[in-house]
């Protein structure tokens, strides 16, 4: 898995690619933690390059969403989610707690 983080004017953009499972999810958690620890709570996660995600990835997303939504200081939104992964999010009931945008531009524009 590969992760890059970019600071934008109104939010931070995290782009993940490859496979997110129990072996690699800690890398994603670490990248997201680094942002929340720097008081950055408006985060767009670009998932266009993610080929696979198990519940280990869901765990990292849930932990970060809790941090971000606390005191209404922000949130994590998801962008360009591949169909397979969207189905996993639906199965886990995560579509109620994460906004999903078709592309990065509209996700970034939501902040």
């Amino acid at each position: 898995m590969n992760i890059t983080t970019k600071s934008l004017k109104h939010c931070d953009l995290v782009s993940a690619s490859g496979r997110i499972d129990s072996a690699t999810a800690p890398q994603l958690a670490q990248a997201l933690d680094a942002l929340t620890k720097s008081n950055k709570f408006k985060i767009v996660l670009d998932m266009s390059g993610v080929e696979y995600m198990s519940s280990a990835g869901l765990r990292a997303l849930l932990t970060t969403q809790r941090q971000c939504r606390r005191y209404n200081r922000g949130e994590v939104v998801l962008a360009a989610v591949p169909q397979n992964i969207k189905e996993t999010l639906e199965l886990a009931g995560f579509t109620d707690i994460f906004k999903i945008y078709d592309d990065v531009v509209s996700a970034v524009g939501s902040f």
Binding site: S22, L91, A92, G93
Partner: protein
């Protein structure tokens, strides 16, 4: 029928997924069904590594794939601690964000991705999780 032994380590999950994906494609599964088999196997193996072996080194997971006329059987065997799937509380998928728990989500996903799930534990013979997915049935 094909069987492969894997060291119970998260770094081997990708190999396990590839192993079952190949069997699923050979059994005539489409990409969506193949993905479901990979995800269910990953969740099951991750649970074995995390809960049955509890990070203990040297544990193994034996995976057997068996094509049937109507689908694919995937069997995972381990020699770690056993558990009672009936005692794992299902996750509350409607709970508020602050009350969401990730515990039990992997097992919940396995039950939804596969058509049949059986768990058996025999003293000395280890734990056997048998998963079956029917071909051509859309979720």
């Amino acid at each position: 029928m094909r069987t492969q032994l894997f060291l119970a380590d998260f770094s081997n999950l990708q190999q396990m997924r590839e192993f079952v994906a190949q069997a699923a494609r050979d059994a005539g599964f489409d990409e969506q069904e193949t993905y479901a088999v990979q995800l269910a196997t990953d969740e099951a193996a991750s649970n074995i590594i995390e809960h049955a072996y509890r990070g203990q080194e040297g544990g193994q997971i034996e995976i057997t794939c068996q094509a049937r006329s109507d689908g694919l059987v995937v069997i995972l065997r381990d020699h770690g601690r056993s558990f009672d799937p009936q005692r794992v509380r299902p996750p509350n998928l409607k709970a508020k964000l602050s009350r969401r728990s990730i515990g039990g989500l992997g097992l919940y996903m396995i039950y939804h991705l596969m058509d049949e799930v059986q768990y058996q534990t025999e003293p000395g013979a280890g734990n056997v999780l048998t998963l079956f997915k029917r071909r051509g049935v859309q979720e």
